[in-house]
């Protein structure tokens, strides 16, 4: 992938203290990274702060990237830990990963209701997800990553990623059913 080889080259230059390379690296990843952080924190100002901290960490620790994963996986992993840390200080209950099994909700009606016209309800339900579930949902459906890559970012077993995604999907169904009054 072109972006990946560019990112690796930039990281090498950053580890040698090249600030122009850091600026290019920032421009390459700033938007998707901000989206990921904002999606989890739901606070623009805090997301700005975390974004700054992530790139500062890149500046300080670029030489610790060993190439065992994609640059984006390494970078999103740093962002994930910083946002989780922030959430832990703010709202520990939002990180809780345990969730009871939820009965499947009327999939046929929901299939029709999850569309652009109901974007507000979808947004409300996404924001109501627990942070760990929201992160996996975002990485799966916005970044289109495989469960293996997501497992590296959030540092958990691959099966946990699948379980979190399953719970996130069930929680979305339950929330959408309530918001839209599907019987």
């Amino acid at each position: 992938m072109e972006d990946e080889s560019l990112a690796v080259k930039l990281l090498n230059k950053i580890s040698a203290g090249d600030q122009d390379a850091l600026a290019d690296f920032y421009r390459l990843f700033e938007k998707p990274l901000y989206r990921f952080i904002k999606f989890k924190l739901n606070d623009s100002f805090e997301a700005y702060d975390i974004l700054n901290e992530v790139f500062l960490e890149v500046w300080r620790k670029a030489d610790s990237f060993e190439g065992r994963s994609k640059v984006s996986t390494w970078l999103f992993g740093i962002a994930y830990y910083k946002t989780i840390d922030k959430l832990r200080k703010k709202k520990p209950e939002m990180i809780d990963d345990d969730m009871p099994d939820i009965e499947d909700e009327a999939p046929t009606q929901l299939t029709c209701l999850v569309n652009a016209e109901n974007g507000v309800a979808v947004r409300f339900c996404l924001e109501a997800l627990k942070a760990a579930h929201r992160a996996v949902m975002e990485l799966t459906f916005f970044n289109d990553l495989s469960y293996r890559e997501i497992a590296k970012i959030v540092d958990c077993p691959e099966n946990t990623v699948k379980t979190r995604m399953f719970h996130a999907k069930q929680a979305m169904k339950q929330c959408l059913t309530k918001r839209m009054g599907v019987e």
């Binding site: 623009s44 100002f45 974004l51 974007g119 459906f141």
Partner: protein
């Protein structure tokens, strides 16, 4: 290899939908979908959900503002590293000065505490109504001009400044008009963006 049950297949569906499955897992999912109407329905739900997630627009990212802040943080970090090598006497002097400031502030706060004025550092919670607009003010604009513009347009500051100098303003009506009006005042407003 044993055939997976429906639950295992269902847990793979989000990754089938985002196109990241391959090899044996992809084959198993495709095979299961051929014979199972409920799973096909689930795929349609997930496809719509993925589309909705992609369509969710967050606020604008900090862009070049954020880059400037990052560069400033790096230069501050380098400066503080250099300062660590300064002689101990300077730190002693700074510590004495800080203690003196603390004493003065304590006296001032205690003197003021007898009146009903409680602004110093106190946090005010404001409930925003209407629309939210984010702005940065021109670097050299006076407080008088800012106040005048905000009062004339019935706008309230509800948050800020952030580390990037961004303020959030609450507007009760016609936010688009306000954005146009504020854009026509570059002497006061440096940048403006409607948040909702």
């Amino acid at each position: 290899m044993a055939e997976p049950d429906n639950k295992s297949i269902e847990s793979l569906l989000p990754f089938y939908v985002n196109g990241s499955l391959n090899g044996e897992e992809l084959r198993l999912v495709e095979q299961a979908l051929e014979n199972n109407q409920a799973l096909r329905q689930e795929v349609i739900f997930l496809q719509n959900l993925r589309k909705s997630v992609k369509e969710q627009e967050p606020d604008s990212s900090p862009g070049e503002f954020g880059l400037k802040r990052l560069q400033k943080s790096i230069s501050n970090a380098s400066a503080s590293e250099k300062k660590q090598s300064t002689p101990k006497n300077i730190w002693r002097f700074a510590a004495v000065a800080a203690c003196l400031m603390l004493v003065i502030q304590t006296v001032v706060v205690n003197l003021e505490s007898e009146s009903t004025y409680t602004a110093a550092g106190g946090k005010t919670t404001t409930v925003a109504e209407g629309y939210i607009v984010s702005v940065t003010f021109a670097p050299n604009v006076s407080e008088r001009l800012i106040r005048q513009l905000l009062i004339e347009n019935n706008v309230t500051i509800i948050d800020g400044p952030s580390a990037l100098g961004i303020y959030r303003l609450s507007v009760t009506e016609n936010p688009e008009n306000l954005v146009t009006l504020f854009k026509a005042r570059p002497d006061v407003i440096e940048s403006i963006q409607l948040d909702n």
